[in-house]
């Protein structure tokens, strides 16, 4: 197999990697906010359940969770295993990352001084105005560096879906390497991951700079 063909195949695989990456972000970023609200709910049973959820998501390997989402429905309900693989992957990744994002949001929201809420109350803002106008914009700035960390980890974590034999760049690299007895595909894949993360870091840094209009 020529270098060019290898590159071509891996590029196609990288497309699948990107799809998993963007879909996971799309779902987990807002879902993290929902999880946060559950976590701090005054309705204790809900907050306990959500706390347990976060604990499990963070306390077990993502690969194991993916395997469970993949094989669970098959063994439990006899569902057709080929039919939902992609759904299982996006679900597994999103639920896992939402737990991390929820905790990042919580740290950000809790660092907003109580005086901001008091000032908002005195000025007559209602609860949702206070959250969306006063609190959230400040939280975004605070959590941006931590979110960047998670996003970069996610780029690399997409490779875990090879465990449920989903074909994306990493799985392809493994296949090609085995078939052609060469490490070249791994090197190429590594370059892909690195360059993409470089871009991610650059975009996030640009966002951080954009948020620097105030201190």
């Amino acid at each position: 197999m020529s270098f060019q063909v290898m590159l071509q195949q891996l590029t196609t695989g990288f497309g699948s990697t990107l799809v998993i990456f963007f879909l996971t972000l799309l779902f987990s970023l807002p879902l993290g906010m929902v999880v946060y609200f559950g976590r701090v709910s005054r309705f204790k049973p809900l907050s306990w359940i959500v706390k347990a959820y976060i604990s499990i998501m963070r306390g077990t390997p993502l690969m194991l969770q993916l395997l469970l989402w993949y094989f669970g429905p098959f063994y439990l309900w006899g569902m057709n295993i080929g039919g939902y693989k992609f759904t299982a992957i996006i679900l597994g990744c999103s639920l896992n990352y939402a737990a991390y994002f929820a905790e990042i949001y919580r740290s950000g929201i809790e660092s907003i001084p109580v005086g901001q809420y008091e000032a908002a109350q005195l000025l007559g803002y209602n609860k949702s105005q206070t959250f969306f106008k006063i609190v959230l914009p400040q939280v975004v700035k605070i959590v941006l560096p931590s979110v960047t960390n998670e996003v970069i980890t996610l780029v690399k974590d997409t490779s875990l879906v090879y465990s449920v034999s989903y074909i994306e760049m990493f799985a392809l690299a493994k296949q090609i390497a085995a078939a052609q007895t060469t490490v070249l595909p791994f090197v190429i894949a590594g370059v892909f991951y690195y360059v993409f993360n470089f871009v991610v870091a650059w975009v996030m840094e640009w966002l951080e700079k954009k948020m620097n209009y105030y201190r």
Binding site: G115, Q116, L122, G124, K133, Y214
Partner: protein, 256 residues
């Protein structure tokens, strides 16, 4: 008898078993400037926080313009409906010790956002009024600045403008100069004085004795959760109350 703008009767408040306010009653008439002085821990800031509904009272009752904002019935704290509370809240404004400006808003947005989005007033009108307020505060050139670009004194003046922009009937000040160095204190006190000249009703918790003496129609000296002395500035500052004398003695000592 005309109704008082603010009436607080038999206010009680405790934190973790510590009785911070023990049956305190105050009333404020329209146009009046009331200063509350006293040593740290005497309960003056708590009284202000109770008046502005930031802290919930344990007992007593608070009303604005004759409308009850909070009261107790058989030991239970009661408040009126959400709409009524909203209405009552629009009667008062509060200037905090540490300003609590919104750091991500420009000076102009800090002042205009609530009038536009809470009171739903006309944008152009609000901006025009805000510019007038900023001129009054000597901050006309700071419209587009962010709070971090301002000095403490400038921040506090913006905070005063922000509170005034909602046209409250009464303005509370919680130690408005305590976070400022002496140089910046003067500019804030000058602004508050100019408001007193306009007969804006104000309740000021302060450690600035000379200022309180000058500006107030009435002064309250609080000590250990009760009102120890109350009266005109000259009455209070020449009071024979032992605690008051001790407090003023310490203050004058510090001045020398």
């Amino acid at each position: 008898m005309s109704t008082n703008l603010l009436e607080m009767n038999h206010i009680k408040k405790q934190f973790d078993g510590l009785q911070v306010l023990k049956d305190v009653s105050i009333h404020v008439e329209e146009g009046e400037v009331l200063s509350i002085i006293g040593p740290s821990g005497s309960g003056k800031s708590t009284l202000l926080r109770c008046a502005t509904l930031l802290t919930r009272i344990d007992g007593g009752e608070i009303s604005y313009m004759g409308k009850k904002a909070i009261w107790t019935e058989n030991g239970k704290v009661c408040m009126p409906s959400k709409n009524e509370i909203k209405d009552i809240q629009s009667y008062f404004g509060l200037v905090f010790q540490n300003f609590n400006l919104f750091p991500h808003f420009t000076v102009m947005k800090n002042i205009t956002d609530a009038p536009i989005h809470v009171q739903k007033r006309n944008k152009d009108e609000v901006y025009k009024e805000a510019r007038e307020l900023l001129a009054k505060m000597g901050l006309s050139d700071k419209e587009d600045a962010y709070p971090y670009q301002l000095s403490g004194g400038q921040c506090q003046r913006v905070a005063i403008a922000r509170a005034l922009a909602l046209n409250p009937k009464i303005l509370f000040f919680d130690e408005p100069t305590s976070a400022l160095d002496p140089e910046l204190t003067g500019e804030v006190l000058r602004v508050i004085r100019s408001l007193a000249d306009l007969h804006i009703t104000m309740v000021i918790v302060t450690h600035e004795m000379n200022f309180a003496k000058d500006i107030s129609d009435r002064v309250i000296f609080m000590d250990k959760g009760v009102i120890a002395v109350e009266g005109t500035p000259s009455e209070v500052f020449s009071s024979s109350n032992a605690r008051m004398k001790e407090f003023l003695g310490k203050f004058h000592q510090g001045e020398k």
